[in-house]
Amino acid sequence: MNLLIKGGRVIDPSQGIDETMDVLIADGVILELGQGLTAPEGTPTIDASGLLVTPGLIDMHVHLRDPGLEYKEDIATGSRAAAAGGFTSVACMPNTSPVIDNKAVACYVVNKAKSEALVNVFPVGSITKGSKGDSLAEMGDLKEAGCVAVSDDGKPVCNSELMRRALEYAKGVGITVISHSEDLALVGEGVMNEGFVSTELGLKGIPWAAEDIAVAREVYLAEFAAAPVHIAHISTAGSARIIRNAKARGVKVTCETAPHYFTLTDDAVRGYNTNAKMNPPLRGESDVAAMKAALADGTIDAIATDHAPHHPDEKDVEFNVALNGIVGLETSLPLSLKLVEEGVLDLKGLVSVMSCNPAKILGIDRGTLRVGAVGDVTVIDPGKEWQVEADKLESKSKNSPFLGWKMKGKAAYTVVKGQVVYQA
């Protein structure tokens, strides 16, 4: 597909670009960047004046629920939510039914995405067979089938020896390992962050130490095995500190946080709000501040939503019974843009954590507008004001704590391989 995007403020940290220029895409590939570009007659053209033009945003942590849990979301609806949120690529977690722990299931996702998805869908395979934590999944096969990472997301690999071997083996295969870091014994029957709010509500708490201890283990295992590890959805000040220190001494650790962890505290649980129930749980104010500080100093490499659609029957219940997780694809961009307004990140920093870095971590040829790269582009209207409404969300599920929130900033166009897949 051919496309000319004219007069936008192009921000591409991969090339150190922040200036007003045109982007020309031919046959789905970036052909040229520059001033006053022209295209052959009939080439679709976007007037991007006043808008930001960035490498296509990448959400490296979503749950598309397909196969098996299509009543929550499927590859088609999830990809529509992604496109509406400005994402051109998503990495989908393997806790489907069946689990993406073998080539056949991975191929199902890849093939279904090919025919039904609006955006690039990169499956994540499991670390262990069935994500049961007993023995390694066939990572080589998973990679060949198109998986960009492995993770037992939703639960940790409790056995430290097995996790060590997973890191070593994955290094050989050349596939990224994503750790869901949680000490399950410390979590116990906890349903929210342990703190004053849990005391007041009489809900069982999850201590921050449950995350920190598990993150520390992954850091030491990665250091020992001299292998990279990526930590999913960090939420605590301690996790950030541990990872910052590890990076300083050269450990190959990267991490992501989610918009809700730098936007909300456990106060949001008051009223037993099940749309504020997720794992890890919303933490305290100092943790929120620590997430921002860790984004600002580069400790946190990526913003990922942990988009976790659930049916109302699973959320509109008593708090203890409600499932963990919230949808995030369509609210991530404005919540992250707020960081720019607050001075936590500049625009280049934002594009780094939402596009360039996730691409690097997953080893995919995305996250850049370099000539010759795939023509995935997000055109952002940073001033667009809008309100989050359940019936306007593209996702099949509406479990968001941000319903009713007034947002600023939205994707104006989402472009995948030179084709506009979403237009506001």
Binding site: G202, G205, Y272, E318
Partner: protein, 310 residues
């Protein structure tokens, strides 16, 4: 002043005046419980459903008697005998009960916040008979009634609450109610049973040593240690718990001379309470049970829109 709440879910939500109104009404209604014929027609034609998702003898019976003494029709549903075992959701159960046009649902539920959830979904009144580790307002009220009867006031009293504060809805309701009424609460228990930030819930002081809490106290309230719940990691043994946090005559002697001993029941003799203390003259435990009926009558009466009783 009337009572403006449709539901009674938490003492945290009630003002001093509202708590006083409930206690005054309970005091007035308690006279009915002394009569030969213990029944008034006040709530005739009203239907009260006791929906109990957790085992309870005292509270359920007390609510049932309270409803019947006011001439309401009381029906008991317990989780083990209803369709709950077939996996019906609380929301569906509530809708089905509501279709039978009750006026009040009295519910006990193991999940904190279940009542807030229920109250948003039903048009009838909801009274909380205990939700998880959150609140147990009728217990808090009957405790305060018992204290007020003994001392004539609540303001200025020193109340010691000893035991597993983390898992106690009784402690939370008492903390909220007593703080609102101007009493001082002193908590004691092993650190494994003391939740973070508890001192911020009200006028609360956390004591490391039980004797500090009991010293010069007007009221010593002992909480039940639930062996089945806390046995695993929170305590080395009941024996050691009893040594440090059980109330025996020597510790009780530190309290004021006219102090009373309270317990929400059922008591574990020889664990949190020495038998000699449970049965001593200072024990108000059975008075609490007696007051429970009057308090619950007052709660039923006021959520039905009852005016202050003269």
């Amino acid at each position: 002043m009337g009572f403006r709440h449709k539901d009674i879910i938490a003492l945290k939500d009630l003002t001093k005046q509202e708590i006083e109104l409930l206690l005054d009404t309970a005091d007035n209604l308690s006279e009915i419980n002394q009569r030969d014929i213990k029944k008034v027609p006040t709530l005739r034609g009203k239907t009260v459903i006791n929906l109990f998702y957790e085992a309870s003898t005292r509270t359920r019976t007390s609510f049932e008697i309270a409803a019947k003494r006011l001439s309401a029709d009381a029906v008991n549903i317990t989780a083990s005998t209803s369709s709950v075992v077939k996996g019906e959701t609380l929301s569906d159960t509530a809708a089905n009960i509501l279709a039978m046009k009750p006026d009040i649902i009295v519910m006990r539920h193991s999940v904190s916040g279940a009542h807030e959830y229920l109250a948003k979904r039903v048009s009838c009144s909801v009274i909380n008979a205990g939700d998880g580790a959150h609140e147990h307002p009728s217990q808090g009220l009957l405790d305060m009634l018992t204290m007020r009867q003994k001392f004539g006031k609540l303001a200025g009293l020193k109340v010691a609450i000893v035991g597993d504060i983390t898992h106690s809805r009784v402690a939370r309701s008492n903390i909220y109610g007593l703080t609102t009424m101007g009493a001082q609460v002193f908590l004691a228990g092993p650190p494994t049973m003391m939740p973070p930030g508890i001192e911020r819930l009200g006028n609360v002081t956390v004591c490391k040593d039980m004797r500090e809490a009991v010293d010069q106290a007007d009221v010593v309230m002992m909480l039940r240690i639930q062996l089945e719940r806390q046995g695993k990691t929170l305590l080395p043994s009941m024996r050691e718990y009893s040594r440090y946090f059980g109330l025996n005559p020597a510790v009780l002697a530190l309290a004021k001379k006219d102090a009373i001993v309270m317990h929400p029941g059922p008591i574990n003799r020889g664990v949190e309470l020495a038998s000699s203390v449970a049965d001593c003259d200072q024990s108000a435990i059975l008075k609490q049970v007696e007051n429970g009926v009057a308090v619950r009558m007052a709660m039923l009466y006021h959520v039905c829109g009852g005016e202050p009783v003269e």
